[in-house]
C-alpha cells in the first residue's frame, strides 16, 4: 500500500535522510522507531509532501507521489497526524473536525463526527470548546480525530504517545487497535519499544537518517543488541 524506496531529504543544505526504504501493507500497523532526532518525523513529513527537497520514490495507492503537494497526497487517502499536534487553537473542536472533513472514499471506512465522538468521549463533552483550552491528551485525541475526518486509508501517526499521561497512552493503544479493526493501515513513529510492541505488527528502526533494522518484534527480542544500540531503553 505504501512503498518508500531510497528516500533522501534535505533541510536547506543539511541532508537529514539518506536512502530510507520502508513499506506498509494493507491493514498493517508498522512502527518506525528511533531516538530523538533520528529522522522519524522527517520521514513522515517527506511521505506527506511536506519537505520540499527530497529524492527517491514514494509509491502509494499504485502511484508515485513524490513531489505532489500535501493536499493532493491527502486526497489519495493518506492521513497525517503531526507530532506537535498542530491543533487550530482558536477554532472549536467541531470546527477543527470540520477542517479535516473530506468526502467519503469507497475503499476506506467513513467517519462521522458522531462516530468519532463515540471513540473519543472526552471530546464530545467539550465540542464547543476552543482547541487551545484542551489538555495535551485531549489535543492529541483531537488531531487524530481531525485526520480521521478525512476518511483516510493509511494514517501516518507521529509519536502519538509522546508527552501524555499513562492513562491516555492506554486509550491511544485502544484507538490504534480500533483503526486496525476498521481496516486502516497505520505507520506509527515511536521511541518506546513497549508501546510499539503492543500496537504494531512489525518495526523499522532508523538512526541518523538511515534504516538500521527491519523485522518482527520477535527478531528484535532475539537480537537485544539492536535495540540497545539504536533505542533508548
Amino acid at each position: 500500500m505504501l512503498d518508500v524506496k531510497n528516500l533522501g531529504a534535505w533541510y536547506g543544505r543539511a541532508q537529514i535522510l539518506n536512502g530510507v526504504s520502508l513499506s506498509v501493507g494493507e491493514n498493517e500497523v508498522v512502527a518506525l522507531m528511533g531516538r530523538n532526532g533520528a529522522g522519524k518525523s522527517t520521514t513522515m513529513k517527506s511521505i506527506m509532501g511536506l519537505v520540499r527537497h527530497i529524492n527517491g520514490t514514494i509509491r502509494y495507492a499504485e502511484r508515485e507521489v513524490q513531489g505532489n503537494t500535501p493536499h493532493a497526497i491527502c486526497r489519495l487517502g493518506m492521513g497525517y497526524v503531526p507530532e506537535d499536534r498542530r491543533i487550530f487553537g482558536d477554532l472549536t473542536i467541531e470546527e477543527n473536525l470540520e477542517v479535516g472533513r473530506r468526502e467519503p472514499r469507497p475503499d476506506a471506512p467513513e467517519w462521522t463526527q458522531e462516530h468519532l465522538f463515540e471513540l473519543f468521549p472526552n471530546l464530545a463533552e467539550r465540542r464547543k470548546n476552543l482547541g487551545k483550552q484542551l489538555s495535551g491528551g485531549e489535543q492529541q485525541m483531537l488531531t487524530i480525530a481531525r485526520t480521521l475526518m478525512g476518511n483516510p486509508k493509511l494514517v501516518l501517526l507521529d509519536e502519538p504517545s509522546e508527552g501524555i499521561a499513562p492513562v491516555i497512552v492506554e486509550q491511544m493503544a485502544r484507538v490504534i487497535a480500533e483503526l486496525k479493526r476498521e481496516g486502516l493501515s497505520v505507520l506509527i513513529s515511536e521511541q518506546n519499544l513497549h508501546f510499539a510492541r503492543i500496537v504494531s505488527d512489525r518495526a523499522f528502526i532508523i538512526e541518523k537518517g538511515e534504516m538500521r533494522f527491519e523485522g518482527s518484534f520477535a527478531d528484535l527480542d532475539e537480537n537485544p543488541e539492536i535495540s540497545n544500540t539504536y533505542l533508548a531503553v
Partner: protein, 614 residues
C-alpha cells in the same frame, strides 16, 4: 458638547473606510502571509471605478449603490488576476520579494490609472438620498457619514458570519493559524489563498468606492492610505479582523480630537499610536505570538567570503571607477556619485537585513537624518563641509539608537512596521516643522567647500567616503560581531541559550546600519546642494529594498550590483513616459524570473557555463 459629539461622529465615519481597507489587508496577510503594498492601489482603483460608474448612473439611489458594489467586485477580479499571475509564484519567496513585487504592482497601477483617468483630481457626485445633513445636538452631520458609520459594523458582522458560519470561513481561520496543516488535511491552499485575496481586494475596493461622495479621487490615494492601513492592521494584530475594526476606530477617533488641539498631528499620530501599542503589546491588540512571521523561507545560504577571482574582478572594477573621472564627462562623475551613494545606502540596509536579520521598511529615515543633520550643521551651526560630514552620520546613529531601542524589542513584520512608523514620524516632523527644517521647501545651499566644489574633486570625496563605508561594513560583517549577529538571525533562542544578549547586539547592528545610511545621506546632500523631506520618505526606503532585492539578498556583492543597476535603470527609465509602469514591470520580471537577484542569476549562469564545459 454638540461640537465634540459631531467630531466623534466624523471620526467614526472615517473609521469605516479605514476599517474596510485594513480588514482586507489583514485577511490577506493572515492567510497568505503577504504584506500587500498594492492594497492601497486596490482602494484607489475602487474609487476611480466607482466614480466612473456613479457618474454614469447619476442620480438614482439604486444606481449609486449598485455602482459601489460593482466597483468593489471589479477590484476583486483584478485582485484575483494579480494573485494568479504574480503572487502565486512567490509564496515561498522571502518576505522582501513579496513586498517588492507588490510594490511593482503599485507602480504599474499608478500609471495605469493615470492613463485611463488622467492626472486631474475627480470630484464625484454626492450619494443620492443621503446628500444633506441632519442636525444632531445642534450640529449639522452629513447623512452620508451616518450611513458610513453603520456600514463599518455591518461589514464586520458580515465577515464574522462568513468566517464562523461557512466552511470556507472556518478554513480561512484555520489557515491563518497554520496554513501547512490545512494543506496536509487535504485543502487546496492555492484556492484558499486566491479566495482570501479576492475578498481582501473586494473590501479595499469597497473602501475606496465608498469614499467618492466624501473626497476627490486622486492618484495619491494609494500611498496616502496604505501607511495608515498598515498601522491599523499592526495595532489590531496581523490577521485579526475585529482587531482591525477596533484599531480603525481608535485611530480615527483620536485623530478627530487631536487635530483640534494640534492640527499638524494627523500625519504622525497613527504612527505614534502604533509605536506605543507595539511597545506594550508586541503582537498588536488582538494578535497572537507567531503572527509576526511572514512566509516560511528556505533557510538562508551562508554568506561566503569572496573567492580570489571575484575579489580581483571587484578590485579591477573599483580601479576603473576610481579612474573614471579622468576619461569621462562631468555628468558621468555626478551619476557615479549617485551610484556610490545608493550603493552605500543599499549595503547598510543589507547589513541590517541580510546580516542582522531585521527587515526595515523605513531605512531612509537614517539616510535623511544624516542628510538633514549635515545641512542643518552648515546652516545653523556654520560648520564647514568636513565637520558637517562627521556631524550628519552621528545624528543618524543617534536617531537609530533611539528608534532602534524600540524596534529590536519586536521581530518579523512587526519590527518592519515599527521601522516604517519611525520613518514616517521623522518624515512628518521634517515636513511640518517649517521654521527649522524648511518643510516642503527643504534646505538649500548645502554646497561642498571651495576646494571640493568641482564635480571631479567631489567624486573623489564621495569615493573615499562611500567605498570606505562599504569596506568598513564588510569588515564588520565578518568580524566576531557580525558572526554573532548572523547567529541571532538564524536562531534567536540558540543565541540566547549560549548567553548572548541578543537585543543589545541587534540594537548595535541597527545603530551601525543607521550611521552608515546617514553617511550616504551626507554625501548625497553635498552632491545635490540641498535636502528635501523625500530623503526620509517611504519611496526611498522602498528603493533601498528594491536595490537589495535586485542584487540578491544572499550574496554580499548583491547590494552593490543592485544599487548600480537601480540607479542606471532609473536614470534611463525616468526620462520615458509611463516610467513607473516600465519600472514596475522590470521589478516584477526580476522577482519572477531571477528570484535570487542579479548576483544569484550571474552565479547560476556561471555555474551553467562551467557545467556546460565540463
Amino acid at each position: 458638547m454638540g461640537f465634540y459629539f459631531a467630531q466623534l461622529l466624523t471620526g467614526l465615519a472615517n473609521a469605516s473606510s479605514l476599517f474596510l481597507i485594513a480588514s482586507g489587508l489583514s485577511i490577506i496577510f493572515g492567510v497568505t502571509r503577504i504584506v500587500n503594498f498594492a492594497h492601497g492601489s486596490f482602494y484607489m482603483v475602487g474609487a476611480y471605478l466607482a466614480y466612473t460608474l456613479v457618474t454614469h448612473w447619476s442620480g438614482s439611489v439604486l444606481g449609486f449603490w449598485v455602482s459601489v458594489i460593482l466597483a468593489a467586485m471589479i477590484v476583486g477580479v483584478i485582485g484575483l488576476i494579480i494573485e494568479l499571475t504574480i503572487l502565486r509564484r512567490i509564496y515561498h519567496a522571502p518576505e522582501l520579494f513579496q513586498l517588492v513585487a507588490t510594490f511593482g504592482v503599485v507602480l504599474i497601477f499608478q500609471d495605469g490609472t493615470l492613463a485611463i483617468w488622467g492626472a486631474e483630481d475627480l470630484l464625484g457626485p454626492r450619494a443620492p438620498g443621503l446628500d444633506s445633513a441632519v442636525r444632531i445636538m445642534g450640529e449639522p452631520i452629513p447623512e452620508y457619514d451616518l450611513a458610513l458609520i453603520a456600514i463599518g459594523p455591518v461589514v464586520l458582522l458580515a465577515i464574522w458570519l462568513l468566517f464562523h458560519k461557512t466552511r470556507w470561513g472556518v478554513l480561512v481561520r484555520a489557515a491563518t493559524q497554520d496554513r501547512e496543516m490545512v494543506g496536509a488535511l487535504g485543502v487546496n491552499q492555492a484556492w484558499l489563498f486566491s479566495a482570501a485575496f479576492v475578498l481582501g481586494s473586494f473590501l479595499a475596493g469597497l473602501g475606496g468606492a465608498l469614499q467618492i461622495p466624501r473626497e476627490a479621487v486622486s492618484l495619491q490615494m494609494d500611498l496616502s492610505i496604505i501607511g495608515e492601513a498598515f498601522v491599523v492592521v499592526v495595532i489590531g494584530g496581523m490577521g485579526s479582523v475585529s482587531g482591525a475594526f477596533v484599531a480603525a476606530v481608535l485611530i480615527s477617533v483620536l485623530n478627530a480630537f487631536a487635530i483640534l488641539i494640534f492640527p499638524q498631528i494627523s500625519i504622525v499620530l497613527p504612527f505614534v499610536i502604533m509605536a506605543i501599542v507595539l511597545i506594550f503589546r508586541p503582537h498588536g491588540l488582538f494578535g497572537k505570538p507567531g503572527s509576526e512571521k511572514g512566509a516560511p523561507e528556505e533557510p538562508d545560504q551562508p554568506l561566503a567570503l569572496m573567492d580570489q577571482k571575484s575579489a580581483m574582478v571587484l578590485m579591477a572594477a573599483l580601479l576603473v571607477l576610481a579612474l573614471s573621472p579622468l576619461f569621462t564627462a562631468d555628468f558621468t562623475s555626478v551619476l557615479m556619485v549617485d551610484v556610490m551613494v545608493a550603493t552605500l545606502f543599499a549595503v547598510s540596509l543589507h547589513f541590517m537585513m541580510g546580516v542582522g536579520g531585521m527587515v526595515s521598511f523605513g531605512h531612509a529615515a537614517y539616510f535623511g537624518v544624516g542628510a538633514y543633520g549635515a545641512a542643518m550643521a552648515v546652516k545653523f551651526l556654520g560648520l564647514g563641509m568636513i565637520s558637517a560630514m562627521l556631524f550628519g552620520p552621528v545624528c543618524a546613529a543617534i536617531a537609530a539608537l533611539f528608534f532602534g531601542w524600540f524596534c529590536v524589542r519586536l521581530s518579523g513584520v512587526y519590527l518592519a512596521m515599527l521601522t516604517l512608523a519611525a520613518a514616517q514620524i521623522l518624515w512628518g516632523v521634517t515636513f511640518q516643522w517649517q521654521e527649522f527644517t524648511g518643510g516642503d521647501d527643504g534646505i538649500l545651499g548645502v554646497w561642498p567647500a571651495k576646494w571640493a566644489s568641482s564635480d571631479k574633486v567631489y567624486f573623489y570625496i564621495a569615493f573615499v567616503l562611500c567605498i570606505g563605508g562599504i569596506w568598513a561594513l564588510r569588515r564588520v560583517a565578518f568580524s566576531p560581531f557580525g558572526y554573532i549577529l548572523r547567529g541571532i538571525r538564524d536562531s534567536q533562542t540558540r543565541a540566547e541559550s549560549i548567553g548572548i544578549d541578543t537585543r543589545f547586539h541587534q540594537w548595535m547592528g541597527f545603530v551601525l546600519a543607521g550611521g552608515f545610511a546617514g553617511l550616504a545621506g551626507v554625501v548625497f546632500a553635498f552632491s545635490k546642494g540641498s535636502v528635501f523631506p523625500d530623503s526620509l520618505g517611504i519611496a526611498l526606503s522602498i528603493d533601498g529594498l528594491i536595490m537589495v532585492l535586485l542584487g540578491g539578498i544572499h550574496a554580499l556583492a548583491g547590494p552593490i550590483l543592485g544599487a548600480g543597476a537601480f540607479v542606471l535603470i532609473e536614470d534611463w527609465v525616468t526620462r520615458l513616459d509611463y516610467w513607473r509602469f516600465i519600472f514596475g514591470a522590470i521589478i516584477l520580471i526580476v522577482v519572477l524570473v531571477a528570484p535570487d537577484g542579479i548576483a544569484g542569476g550571474v552565479q547560476r549562469l556561471l555555474r551553467g557555463l562551467k557545467g556546460g564545459r565540463a
